[in-house]
Amino acid sequence: MNRINKLFQTRKGKILSIYFTAGYPSIDSTVEILKALEAAGADMVEIGMPFSDPVADGPVIQNSSQQALNNGMSVKLLFRQLENIREQVNIPLLLMGYLNPVVHFGINEFCMKCEEVGIDGVILPDLPADVFVEEYSYDFKRHNLHNIFLITPRTTESRIHEIDKLSDGFIYMVSSASTTGARDSFSAKDVEYFSRISKMRLNNNCLVGFGVSNKKTFSQVCDYTSGAIIGSAFVKMLNEKGTGSKGIKNFIDAIRQ
């Protein structure tokens, strides 16, 4: 069974997924960060594939992407770094990035490589659902790879149901119509959106991303959804405190305590 499904089967709620950009702060930090995250108690990790034009990202992840590209990160190199990752890390791993490098790599080759190294899912915010269904779903399915769809506060109810039907693994709930970036707290309007989606009783679990940064925002979303994804705040911590396992443990503990 896909590790993402297994996670949602065994843990009900308060799932904490962490995003970081591969190749940042240094080119060789990917495996080190993944191991430290698992040891610190993260439930799942989204490994960012840096892209030159990250239109869904705010300044922190934009900067990390540019730095990672300057460091020489590429899709090819990332797969090479992840070659033996399943001997060291057991939690579900996803790749998150933008469509162009994936298309350029070759969709089938990409899915094959994901399966080979043990990637469980992919998040591509600029991949439209209908294009996925028509052109890519076959390759994803035969390589046991989940494509994670995103919804926002503006996604219509009928489209959310459609996405729920297409989804396997979880649904990525974007907290607001904005780019990625840490926020201190969610407003009443944001919470109303979390509650509205929760009342729809979707088949898939939902994780909230974009804006979740600390204990407060994490527990705000956990009242209504299965958990959250934290990206910018973690990337910022890596920039300030480095990739040491102690700093990573402190970061996770501060959210969970």
Partner: protein, 107 residues
Amino acid sequence: MQNDDGQITEPYSISAGLDYPGIGPLHAWLNKSKRASYEHATDTETLEAAFQLTRLEGIIPALESAHALAVLGKHKFKKDDVVVVTISGRGDKDMASYIKYMGEKNL
């Protein structure tokens, strides 16, 4: 325009409207499906063609369109051929480039 990793690369063109990587996919498709053929013009050829149209017709073309004018001289047309060139924009916006070129060439 992209590199081997699918990262978008910075294009270069003397005309702002062509200095944009996203301009590519539609044209790439038209070229591949052979519904259109494509030619290139250098900056100097483009500027020369723009000045020629200005002198002959009193029309200052935008630098984007001037690329099309520049390839006209590379074709051998028959006397009764009908040739359509779209002057897609006006050259007022490109005055800085034109004035710079005039300075360099002492025009």
